[in-house]
Symmetry: C2
Subunit: 347 residues, 2 copies
Amino acid sequence: MTTIVDVARAAGVSTATVSRVLNKHPHVDPRLASVVMQAVKDLGYQPSRVARSLRTRRNRVWALVISDIRTGPFFADVVRGVEDVAYSAGYSLFLCNTDEDPLKEASYINLAVAENVGGVVLTPSGPRTDLGSLASSGTPVVLVDRKLPDQGADTVVVDNVLGATQAVAHLLAGGYQRVACITGPLSTTTGLQRYQGYARTLEQAGVPVHDRWVRVADFREAGGRAAMQELLALAEPPEAVFVANNLMTVGALQAIAEAGLEVPADMAVVGFDDVPWASLLRPPLTTVAQPAYDLGLESARLLLSRLEGYSGAARLVTLAPTLRVRESSAPKAQATRPAVATGDRDK
Amino acid sequence: MTTIVDVARAAGVSTATVSRVLNKHPHVDPRLASVVMQAVKDLGYQPSRVARSLRTRRNRVWALVISDIRTGPFFADVVRGVEDVAYSAGYSLFLCNTDEDPLKEASYINLAVAENVGGVVLTPSGPRTDLGSLASSGTPVVLVDRKLPDQGADTVVVDNVLGATQAVAHLLAGGYQRVACITGPLSTTTGLQRYQGYARTLEQAGVPVHDRWVRVADFREAGGRAAMQELLALAEPPEAVFVANNLMTVGALQAIAEAGLEVPADMAVVGFDDVPWASLLRPPLTTVAQPAYDLGLESARLLLSRLEGYSGAARLVTLAPTLRVRESSAPKAQATRPAVATGDRDK
DNA sequence: ATGAAAGCGCTAACAG
DNA sequence: CTGTTAGCGCTTTCAT
């Protein structure tokens, strides 16, 4: 391996000068600089980031801690958003999948400390995620997709309440009154807020919220399927459903198909978190699209600003989701079921 | 930050002893060891991986260089395969998306050298990918998904020829004779081999290969769509198509739908690379499933074996794909077109 | 079995 | 403007 000493010798200067040239210090003789650069080229010299990190006590690396890169396009897009900013700012990324496991998460947070990373972008696995070691080592942290109470960290989230509101208001506008909700664990801000958006929208429209039409599942495919099966088995099943993430939506669609029912005639469906294949489904699936890439971008920018010296109060950036209307939530056919469509007893 | 010196002082021993305890050296007094461990706990000491890397000249980090984590589940699964092995062996991962850009790839390879990573798992962006700097720095490299000529690196690939063979043989068995192929750039081993599997299978079945039914696109959605449009515009269009990756398959399906045609009645379709939503499509999509997670797993294992001292010749691990038969390639209806279905003139 | 001390490759005072 | 030198935190001879 060729080191800075080799370059210094080849260029006939001291290592300090080589270092200055490489780090573009202002006061270096241009002629010496070019000699050094030539030596660097000739020797194919690559400065050791490890040595540099040890010396400067800052590592041009971030840890990106998420739940699971495989759960669909969402985290993949977030990751790319973060990476694109990191790359152009000269940072590299440790990819850390926690699988929502607090132990694995803690272990990756330890890694971040041990590697002395410059910053961390993290989707907390739950409300008990401990950022203490990062705080005490002075490592800036940006939370993405989920908030954490009282940690004082910059946070970037999607307006989940708004997204759920858009979805449910759209269903109500389509003439659906018996609207169910399949949400995720209420311990997650996403699961809770999407439910809250659902409930509030119904209330504000004067439609009562029935607990039996609310199912709390686990954000996974099998959970969504089981929840939908339960809804369908009800004495008075709903006529539309808002499902709080894409994996559960897949499960719900399966359950509907298995029951021999049609979307949207028998059950209108709106999912949360758009997927590129939503329009390929028959019928095409209405979803609340999240700006996942932008989520990553904004997180990275907040982190960068901290690394560039900003030290103000914690910032919360809330990004708006977008309702993508497709056929799975087409308005209720008035002609087909006039009795139901007009039998609005709650008004 | 608390260092090894703090621990040594707290435990009343030398830093050497602390180091020995932490690295589980054989000859340490158990009593001293426990004193040290206590001090470590009390101080919440985390050894600096940076300093350790500098000193030992090996970094417990791998670089994982792929094209783009967002192109669907494939790379996400590969990544998880690699990460799961890396994590349990105590390694962390740099995620490096090249977007097939040779410059970005080169820049990430430089990073790997500069960070002195322990190993690299890489999907080469093309045949000109230069592994020289890694070779000369003694960093083991494992190629995944795509081969590279004469680089002497361990490689893990899917048997693309076999996969294409399975797909095309299945279509032929279903009574389809006019089978087209939309493949990727022939400069990639995947694009070339999937085409080769297609062509050979037709030849061996005595079915002539027509160049006009072969389209070379770019592995992207728009490319697949354009290619399919061209095929449909032909004077004698095919009756079935084998599409060499999932993004292009999505494009092809769109083109078919836009032309007002039905799958499989007007056009049978088999895609390459399965997706979790294949069975949600109407009709469900037949695909050649790749063992993506296992691809990552095997790559990581090969890398580990090198790090554990194996220094034999380069190994090539070839994993078999699996045909997942669904309705998009249902056998030709005998009743509808008896003349074609029985008109097997080559026998 | 333990400690003292050197040094991994680099940067940043401090001199000059 | 450039060189000398100390030292980042750790591991590893070399003594003892």
